[in-house]
Amino acid sequence: MSSGLTLNKITAQKGISIAEATSRVADLGWTPTYVQEAETFPTDYKISKVPRDPMKQVLRSYFPMQEEKDNRVYGALDAALRGDMFRNVEPRWVEWMKLFLAIIPFPEISAARAMAMVARLAPGEELRTGFTMQMVDEFRHSTIQMNLKKWYMENYIDPAGFDITEKAFGKCYASTIGRQFGEGFICGDAITSANVYLTVVAETAFTNTLFVAMPSEAARNGDYALPTVFLSVQSDESRHVGNGHSMLMAMINDPSNHLLLERDLKYAFWQNHTIVDAAIGTFIEYGTTNRDKNKESYVELWHRWIYEDYYRTYMLPIEKYGIKIHHDDVAAAWDRLVKKNYVHKIAQFFAVGWPVNFWRIEAQTEKDFEWFEHKYPGWYAEFGDFWKWYGRKSVPGETNMLFDQENGYVYPHRCWSCMCPCVIREDFCVGEVDGKLYTYCSEQCKWTHTVAFQAEYEGRPTPAMGRFKGQRIWEDCYHGWDLADAIKDLGFLRPDGKTITAQPHLRFDQKDMWTLDHVKGHTIQSPLVLIRDMSPADRDKHVAEYRAGFKIKPCNCGNGHHKH
């Protein structure tokens, strides 16, 4: 073939430009004249400006592109099996995937449903293709994640917990927090949920910790499947970020939206912080066996992705439109992560509650202590003894950590807003709505429930705003129950009907595994029920004591290696 001649040059024919194609596709819509479309998911925002589609893609190129991505993902999964990935995978890591992958397909598919809510709100049809692709993307994410989970179940040493995954999602005291995240995308004011909470905050900011930072940690633990699936998922997110930003820009030019935008950006940022940092922070810091001191810690990742990328590069520029950004909350979230040990305290909470989990959590050991102390100076003094206790109490026959009087742990209240445990004791607060007492993890979450999710905001009626409802406090469901009965009711049992699905260790031998007999005789209590029953004076005293915190008692049992 002569130089400069290519097959493409021989076969190429004139086509229509991308700009022309997207403009024609955008012209498919029209304004109905016979019957008006029902406004089924109302919003208090006004959107009069036509949002622009920054991605300029049509479905004809979208589907083959996605199929190609899929081929790579499924090829990599096959390769991982042929390469015997599970022989070298770290069970400590895969166990946490039982929780993570139980949660995430629901928020993903909720994001697909959310596209129905925003698609009709904006004038013009240009962004409709963007919303369509996002809808199909989210269908992809939800089912590709279900597939990954099934794959772990089929190939990992301990499938228990994966086998009950969606049932566990509906019942578990931790996955319920993830549901607040997913329902937050699709219920209430359509813009608040489907645009600000989902695309502007969750997808633009926090998917980076979810889908970029976490896969790196997976790879360090011998898990090449999660990075393959989730980096492929993340490659779709840029489209969604574009959708979110485009809608945001269409609203921001109307000053009457500013008050609501400020409210929603604040609410969404804070709740994403409490929920995503709790879960992903724990997976990355406590689900890993890699203690390379040169790798970034979760807070370092957070600084890169949330502080620099989102806050400084994405949020700050919108101030020029007259939007007041929640600077104080960004600083407060940072302090909670760095100074107030949010992630470490959440990990403690997951660990003490292990019998009602559906995955295994093993104790942290000396090697882990060393890394934590290096990355979080002062960690050992506050958390070292806790994990030693946990290691010691991981043997069947010991009293479960939660009810054991020896270690000094005090079970936390739950936050009515984000549903996370109120683990930063000094930030704990209570409030009243319609004469009823509620507990919150922070003043920001109290504001979310008592001020933001109401029918009026700063004197402005907000008739479309959602409401927090349901049995939001998990412990209320089992208040007064025996622990063994609760586990049975949850269905978190292995097929023999007595061995508990969760275990506080990674020992894969029947003699080391806890059964119902090992946990019975302890009564679950809901901190919310108890505090509501208190007299005002007792309550004040209780809140003051709670805010003062607790101290884990010294564990003289030597580095978590307790001989029996």
Binding site: R24, P32, K167, G184, D496, F508
Partner: protein
């Protein structure tokens, strides 16, 4: 005994035997057949339900007290919304494979057709039909796609919503296929194809106003099952197939056009699957243990309402059959076929045939 160390050096299945070590199937739902299908594993219970495993109920409400998902979003009722399975069993992998294959086929047909100079040889009368009427019809497909995009938010289970979602995806792709196709062949045709003509006919031409009205009525419905059923059981056989199969596929070849039928026939393949999915759901509702009669009345009302609109729309399309130079198909024949198809779908479902098409 060591408190933390693990004596097993492998994380692989089978490396140890202990309670639950062989529990390698999702065990929280009853498969429809003897064994779970991959589709079922990917789909069931991802959208939770307080009547199944949702311990704490829905935790956010709309301001009127409606929870995140509500059974009241359709007038139909069911004792078990979880029974439904999409016949096409689509999950992401199969959906992208199928969509991508269609995109590849359609593009290949267009490219090779154009390379052979086919579009320039289309009969002039036919080019105008494509410009004005296929150009108008693409908006109908878009309207169906956006209605389904809306509807996929409301179903009470993941199975129903995902079936509606993939249906939306197919419709929106096809609307775009037609748009881009007309743009591309316009490059090869002397005088081009007026890109605004289709929309003008869609909005103003009396031939299309019945169709536009029928679509707008579907778009305006706030009952997602009314939308889903009106589209697949009523509009598609009476208007969609009538125009696609009863007109385009029959007339094109006689006007030197072998490209358009290939592009359009993709939609017929899509519809076969979406019809099967929808009929399965209708069948479930009409055979519901408690609400069979109730559902029959409701769905019957929808069918009657939309059949009137679709039938009127179809009748208004008649002049299109006179436009091509070579009249190889007649409207009455095509319309008869469409009515038969519609009546047949209803009979298979066990629904009465409305007077308008009887």
């Amino acid at each position: 005994m060591e408190g933390t160390a693990t004596p097993i050096k492998s994380g692989a299945a089978g490396a140890a035997t202990f309670p639950g070590s062989d529990s390698r199937k999702f065990n929280y739902y009853d498969p429809k057949g003897r064994k779970s299908t991959h589709y079922e594993d990917m789909t069931l219970d991802v959208q939770p339900d307080p009547d199944r495993y949702l311990l704490q109920d829905w935790i956010i409400n709309f301001p009127d007290g409606t929870p995140t998902y509500s059974k009241d979003w359709t007038r139909c009722k069911s004792v078990d919304w979880h029974k439904y399975r999409a016949v096409d069993q689509e999950w992401e992998k199969t959906h992208y494979q199928r969509q991508s294959t269609i995109c590849g086929t359609v593009q290949s047909v267009i490219e090779n057709g154009r390379r052979s100079g086919a579009a320039a040889r289309f009969d002039k009368s036919w080019v105008k039909v494509l410009q004005d009427h296929l150009g108008a019809y693409k908006h109908a497909e878009f309207g169906l796609g956006t209605s389904l995009m809306q509807a996929q938010r409301y179903g009470f289970t993941q199975m129903i919503n995902n079936a509606i979602l993939t249906n939306s995806s197919y419709k929106l792709r096809f609307g775009q296929d037609l748009t881009l196709y007309l743009g591309e062949i316009g490059l090869d045709i002397e005088g081009g194809i007026d890109k605004d003509a289709g929309k003008k006919h869609w909005m103003e031409d009396p031939i299309w106003q019945g169709t536009r009205r029928a679509i707008e009525e579907i778009m305006a419905s706030s009952d997602y099952l009314e939308q889903y059923i009106a589209i697949n059981v009523v509009f598609e056989p009476l208007v969609g197939e009538l125009f696609r199969s009863g007109f385009v596929l029959q007339m094109a070849a006689a006007h030197n056009d072998f490209i358009t039928p290939s592009v359009v026939s993709a939609a017929e393949g899509d519809y076969e699957r979406n019809l099967a999915n929808c009929v399965e759901l209708v069948h479930n509702l009409l055979n519901d243990q408690d609400y069979s009669l109730h559902n029959k009345v409701i769905i019957g009302e929808w069918v009657e309402k939309h059949a009137k609109l679709a039938h009127a729309a179809a009748a208004q399309l008649q002049p299109i059959w006179s436009l091509p130079r070579v009249k190889v198909a007649s409207f009455p024949e095509s319309f008869d076929l469409a009515r038969n198809r519609f009546n047949n779908v209803l009979q298979q479902c066990g629904l009465p045939v409305p007077a308008v098409t009887a």
